[in-house]
Amino acid sequence: MRRVPENASLNDVTVVLDDRAILRGISLGLGPGLTLLRGPNGAGKTTLLRALAGLAPLARGRRSVSGGPPLYIGHRPMLLSGLTARENLAFLAAFRGLGAGDVAGALRAWGLAGEMDRPIERLSAGQRRRASLARIETEQMPLVLLDEPFADLDSDALVRLRAAINTALVRGQAVLMATHMHHELDQDATHRYVLDDGALREV
């Protein structure tokens, strides 16, 4: 059930929010490859991703991530309104010390050539989601955490997401994806987990 941790791990982690144990004694090691995380609504999938991202306080246990802070893309796009898609992605890449790189190229690849210089709040939900997912290419971190990335995406964007994940896997990145649409990438997954009532099991 447990793998040798390479890119990241959680060791006996418990997360308690509002006096309720959302995660109970979770241990998980993530090496290069795609790991799918399933589970019913409210099972704790988002909390598990946030624990790996360092955004959820650990009541017990230890979190370890190598190669710099992970790329975490949550339910919402996590981009600042008032800035354009290009400015948002350039800021986040620059903060990691990566430089602006080919932000424009990545946004073009996600079909946002004509939208990248518009304020993010003027884009549709699907376009904002595309812009946030373009970070997979602009930041290229060893650990990528994606929370329901298929939400708001059309069929073209689904193809693009699949391609971006495959490229990440070729680069040796570890991708952990919480999703209900596991069939979309099931054949590419190296590991599959189900989280239910705060407990994790590999399937």
Partner: protein
């Protein structure tokens, strides 16, 4: 990239967003102008022109303006969970605090300048020591954001944040408000040593709360 570079990067991001969507700036400017005007009318021209009263009215307006700018700034961060993208990064929490303090101080400086011109013209105030008044103004602007940003970050996920931030931060800011008011009044009346003394106190407050914020914030933000 060092800590200062990261803070400046956050500040630049904040100012770019505020420039394109100046909600906080416009709200603070309108509110400050109206407050100065209304208070001047309420007190009457004779009383409102007294240096102590004019300074107090001005700095109370600036204190509320600072809260407005900070609240709007963090509303924007929470809109699409944009703040999480920064918090997850190495040094993100410190940079977010310091960058917000810098950006809010810059926005507040513009609001304060406009309000100062309005106060001086509206009340026909005489300024005995202009340089000292500017010094007190600059240090006052630097002394307010470290506390307001710290309290806003600590109350970030609280539903009643808009009400809670002034309730929690204003008592902490009372010494700074007194120093701003007394320092400005001393500069208006020509008491150089008193103005410099109050300015020194403001500098100390800015430094102490700036360091305190950088120390507390990394562990305190959820």
């Amino acid at each position: 990239m060092n800590a200062l570079d990261r803070a400046l990067l956050v500040a630049a991001r904040e100012l770019a967003a505020e420039r394109r969507r100046p909600d906080g700036f416009v709200a603070a400017l309108t509110f400050t102008a109206l407050l100065v005007l209304m208070e001047s009318l309420a007190f009457g021209p004779g009383q409102a022109r007294q240096p102590g009263v004019a300074s107090a009215l001005y700095w109370i307006a600036i204190l509320f303006a600072a809260t407005l700018v900070a609240t709007r700034s963090f509303d924007r961060e929470l809109e699409d969970d944009a703040i999480d993208a920064v918090l997850v990064l190495d040094g993100g929490r410190e940079a977010l605090y310091a960058g917000k303090v810098i950006a809010i101080a810059i926005v507040l400086a513009i609001v304060a300048l406009a309000a100062a011109v309005l106060s001086l013209v509206l009340l026909d105030l005489g300024v005995a020591l202009a340089g000292h008044l500017v010094l007190v103004g600059v240090l006052g602007i630097l002394a307010l954001p470290p506390v307001i940003v710290l309290v806003t970050l600590l109350a970030l996920r609280v539903r009643a944040r808009v009400a809670l931030v002034p309730i929690l931060s204003f008592p902490i800011l009372m010494p700074q408000l007194v120093a701003c008011t007394q320092g400005a009044a001393a500069a208006l009346t020509g008491d150089a040593s008193a103005a410099l003394g109050w300015a020194g106190i403001l500098a100390a407050f800015a430094l102490v709360y700036g360091v305190l914020g950088l120390t507390i914030v990394p562990a305190a933000i959820e």
